[in-house]
Structures are given as C-alpha cells and as structure tokens.
Symmetry: C2
Subunit: 205 residues, 2 copies
Amino acid sequence: MGARPSRRDQILDAALELFATQGITATTTRDVAARAGVATGSVFYHFATKPDLIEAVLGRAYVGPDLQTIADRSDRPVRERLLEAAQLFLATLRQRRALLSVAIQAALVDDRYRLRVRANIDDEIGVLAAILDRTPGATTSSLSSRAIAATLLRSLVTTAVLHPEPIAGEHAFIALTVDLFVAGAHGPGPNAGAPSTEILSDSGR
Amino acid sequence: MGARPSRRDQILDAALELFATQGITATTTRDVAARAGVATGSVFYHFATKPDLIEAVLGRAYVGPDLQTIADRSDRPVRERLLEAAQLFLATLRQRRALLSVAIQAALVDDRYRLRVRANIDDEIGVLAAILDRTPGATTSSLSSRAIAATLLRSLVTTAVLHPEPIAGEHAFIALTVDLFVAGAHGPGPNAGAPSTEILSDSGR
C-alpha cells in the first residue's frame, strides 16, 4: 500500500458514496465501477458479487481500537471513561455518516448484512461493558453492564441519525444518562430476574 | 371514507412500499403512480411534489395514542408503565418496519424530513418522560426524565433495525435497563450540572 489508495480502496470509496446517496438497492456494480473509474471486471475481480462488495464496505474499520484505548485507562473513574467512550462513538458515527447510512440500510434490507452490522456494534458494546465489569465495588452484573452499554450505544446510533451536528447541551445530556446508569448500577435497585444469556450478544438471535 | 382505501391512501401505501424496498432516492413519483394503479397526475393532485409525498408518508399515525393510554394509568407503578410503553414502542416499530425504514432513510438524506421524524419521536419521548415526572418521591428532574425517555426510545429504534424479530430474553433485558434507570433516577447520584433546556426537545437544535 503506497500513498495512493489501492484499486480495491477506490472501489470501496465509490461504493460507499453511491450506496449512501442513491441507496444500496438502486446502485449497480456497474455504477460503482463507473464512479471509481475502473472497468466493471475490476470490481468483480475484487468482489465476486454485489453482496460481497456490501459486506466489504460494512467491514471497514470502526471505532473499536480508539474505544479500547479509553476503556483501558483503569486509572480513571468509570463514569469519565464511559462518557468519553460515548462521546467518541457519537462523534465517529457523525464523521462517518455515509458508513452509518449504508450500515442502517443494509441492516434493514437483508439478514446477512444485519448480522455483520450487529457484530460491529456488538464489539463496541463489549468494550463499554468491560469498563463497568471491572469496576470495584459495583453491584453490576455482567448482564447489567451489557444492558447499560447496549442501551447507551444503540441510543447514540439514533442520535447520530437524527442530529448530524452536535446539539446545544448534548454533552451534559449524555453525562446525565451515564450518571443515571452508573447510579442505578451501583445501587441495590429492584432486580429484573435472570434473563437468558443469549441476549448477552447483540449478534445473537 | 368508506371500506375501500381512498385514492390518497392507495398512493401513500404504494409510496411507503417502494420507498422502503427500493429507496426514497431511487423511487420516482411515476413509479408510485404505477404501483398504486393511478395516473401520475393523480399523485400530483394529492401531493404537489415528491417531498410533500414523503412528508405525508412520515406523518402517518405513530404509536402516540397507545403510549398515552399506558402513561395515563397512574394507579400502576412507574416501572411497570415504562416497561410496557417500551415494549409497545418496540413492537410497533417492528410491525411498521417499512415506515421505520422510510423514516430513517428520510432523516439521513434531508433536513426537512429529519425535523419531521424528530418531531414524531419527540412526542413519544414526552409521553414517556411524563410517566417519570409524575412519580411521587422521585428525585428525577424533568431533564433526567427526558434523558431516560430519550435514551430508552432511541435505543429501541436501533434495536428494531438490528432485530426485526424479538430476541430470546429481550423482555428481561429491557426490564433491567428500565430498572437501572429508575434506580438511578431515585437515588442521589452524582449530578451532571445544569444542561441547556434546548436539549429538552428532540426536535430542537
């Protein structure tokens, strides 16, 4: 890989742009080739089918590594790390709005893509849940860590769709949500029983 | 209005179906007319422009009234009402998957539609927040009610996208989230400061 994007990357960039603007269903492999400035055969050389191309677009690196860095700072308070991770997640979804759009469209149209998108967000939920799991003195079970992380991250996906730009007071609003969760997770609180472990995974069915 | 759908409803049904399956951008007014079995002029008679048609699709009744009925049952515990409202919201999003798909697509492509979709979810957030606001003895401020309701409902939107069918243990998972929130809202908990009131509204900027 040199300074110039590889042909494969050119194709993925073109596909991302077209999928986001004109829709996954309406975009043909031929359209992608034309936009990327390559022969249609070149698209098929890299991606045998349109579903393969869609999966490759969805598979492009997400926020995982950066979230992990925040999660690993165990010298910092849980609340601070959760908040910073949530902000980073939201900022990244906004920056990668085209990818967000393609991921949601794909999840809406087809089981195969939906599993891929779930696996992506599932990884991120796991990173956030681990911040809570490693909290000394918390009464949080790994299931409630998971519930907090999943609810927070899934709500930020919708926030990014509805608010492409930050809203006034948004940071404080997210902080309040995190506080309510952290307070609830540390308090005694009513217990909802023992749900099945299947729901520990966002990619599970 | 008789037993048969009006021509306007026929057009809206056809538009909803095509927008959901082939995408808002790729669907022309002519396509909608053909699918509805009416003349293109008839579509323009009811909806002067394609954006007007899209707005009419988005404006179709949402879960508001049913949520309100649950919210109004003040003889029942807050936790129970929140949980039932959340379940109803999720079930409705799943039943109206085509509308969910169109709403998300629309919110992603254009400011005008985004405001409309925000206004819809904003109404529902208000209904849920009111359940918490009227709780005797809760330390919840109207802002934290709003934060709880917004986070919960927005997370359910993403859940409906990623999981078109209920997942095993899902009810207990949502119950746990509600419990964590309710426990946090009733506890002393750290305070996140005083965020701007602008964020009280999901449709605000």
